[in-house]
Amino acid sequence: MKKTGSQILLECLTLEGVDTIFGYPGGTVINIYDDLMDSPIKHILTRHEQAAVHAADGYARATGKVGVALATSGPGATNTITGIATAYMDSIPLVIITGQVPTALIGNDAFQEADVIGITRPVTKHNYLVKDVKDLARILKQAFYIARTGRPGPVLVDLPKDVQMATAEFSYPDTVELRGYKPTFSGNARQVEKAAKMILAARKPVIYVGGGVVLSNSSDELKQFAELVQAPVTTTLMAMSSFPKKHPLSLGMLGMHGTYYANMAVTNSDLLIAVGARFDDRVTGKIATFAPHAKIIHIDIDPTSIKKNVRVDLPIVGDLKDVLQTLVKKLGERQELIAAMVDETTGWRKEIDNWKEQHPMSYTASKTIIKPQYVIEKIRELTNDDAIITTEVGQHQMWTAQFFDFSQPRTFLSSGGLGTMGYGLPAALGAQAAFPERQVIDVSGDGSFQMNSQELATLVQYRLPVKIVILNNNFLGMVRQWQQLFFHKRYSQTCMELPIDFVKLAEAYGATGLRATTPDEVENVIRKGLETPGPVIMEFKVAREENVLPMVPAGAGLNEMVLAS
């Protein structure tokens, strides 16, 4: 039977198992929105297209499925760019559908026209302009396949209005044939064998874990591997939830705002095993002094990540799950050697424990003023392990990473690579839409929150009970911190001088607003906020000039940490 392009689109989404999409209607997608009324797919109307993409991204990070967003041509499509770039930097599988002006008008500066394929080329894994309705089903099949396989990423499909209206026989292909795209799945056996030998010979090993472990659902394999060889594990921001922070082998986060002991361990290690990480500049600090004594094994599905920033002694390209399983198997066959290695590395673990004792993660508590770290600790105390925490970007993000003990994968959603303020609220919206029963909390600052605060309306409309924690210091705190440390306290444009009444703002949208101004109010506000049905804003008036510490100043080595103000 013949179907229209917009019907084919929705059929394909259904066949891909998509249950929820996030979007915003407009002139060039009006046909799709009309057909949506007859489709089983649930659509969530955000209040901005950027938020629709972040919501799809939050949905994808929380579930592991491909997130889908829909926007109209021109401004609708350009509004999605930050969302797409955010997903691209963090390798999140998304399919974004944008409307386009009719093919005959493309290039004519038509109303609400933008060259979306051109604009999104550098921030998508791949993109498609559909010129013939007969190609649509094949392109969508490919789009989902490309988004979720290999190193995942966003794929955009630009769909002109006349293609949506044209008809074609519909059949969804079973397979994908792309001669230029064949991601390596299994790691090279000889390389894995070499890795096993290097690991057995190591005396100061450190496992450095990136977001790839979360993306490939390899947390169990990672734990098996780490416990087998008794090597300490440090994670990036993106891998925060992949290895339980309370685990005795956990070093917490490394890098600019990482723990003292993680950075010292990396600096003194003789073997660094990088697993699904990409040696970001916020992780390595000064490259010349990064892990100077270590041989480096780098396991990653993306060959372009390897040797991009640092020299690598042994690259292994492949899916982490597969490589880690093989590695554990190969090592497991050598119990005696493992036992000897574990024995030989006892001193190393002791050295690390000493660093942990010398400089644990800490902050100066206060009885009179709310310390932001205290709020984070209290939230941890009062929530379950499966609570999903999202953040915006800035100080509150780092405090959450430092003081929240994540233990389950896909429970920490944060914009790591692009560092997008305004990400957390819509991402929480997407995660809550995927898991209506779970506790979803957006930890935010007063600056970031205002970048997408309009999404309060979406939360209330769809009864998505996201709890929003605002650590309000009336500053753009992270930039202020840099100005304090590196620009002689010249606070240029970082003071948010207009105090916002976030309680009233919540009420204006029909949500609940709570506020704590002293430390003794904190616990009650959190308890009440978590118990209150529906979306809640909990505002905490926190110490205004608290800094995120420890800190590796930009351009310094990981061993040159500033530990206290």
Binding site: G118, R121, H126, L178, G180, D302, P303, T304, K308
Partner: protein
């Protein structure tokens, strides 16, 4: 360092801009570029000459491989290859210089492909250095217009990439 890279890609719209975007996005100039379909009309062969830091070029090559539409990359750096470029040169040829232009064309085994009482248009093929050389010799005669194709290359030896 100078690099010549051949990229075999899907013969579809938009692919070329993905390829050149990887260079321009890093501030790399492409010195020359030639594109045409291969024996298999669904595949195009792009030959790119560029120069720059080896490590960044290695990164670009890896990124080129990562493009969905890229089928194969051949980096000719450090390899033995045949390199040919074609040029059409319109040169002033009046009574006093006509004979000299013809002699130069003959030395370089070029061809005259268009003649007027005041000009010759010359076709010449060879390595880029050969083209450079004939241009230098013709320059004093007065070059009116010139076009160079940029080099195309194939690896030496019996091995070929099938289908292209």
């Amino acid at each position: 360092m100078k690099h010549i890279i051949s990229v075999l890609v899907e013969n579809e719209f938009g692919v070329l801009s993905r390829v050149v975007g990887l260079f321009s996005g890093r501030g790399f100039n492409i010195e020359s570029l030639s594109v045409a379909p291969t024996l298999d009309p669904t595949i195009s062969r792009i030959t790119i000459a560029t120069s720059g830091d080896d490590q960044i070029l290695e990164q670009i090559t890896k990124q080129l491989n990562k493009l969905i539409d890229t089928i194969k990359i051949i980096d000719f750096t450090g390899q033995d290859f045949v390199e040919r470029e074609m040029s059409l040169i319109k040169v002033t040829a009046e009574d006093n210089t006509r004979a000299e232009v013809l002699r130069i064309v003959d030395i370089f085994r070029g061809k005259i492909v268009d003649v007027t009482p005041r000009s010759f248009t010359i076709e010449v093929t060879g390595s880029p250095t050969k083209i450079d050389a004939i241009i230098e010799l013709l320059r004093p005669m007065g070059i009116k217009e010139l076009v160079r194709s940029g080099p195309v290359v194939l690896g030496r030896g019996p091995k070929g990439w099938k289908g292209a």
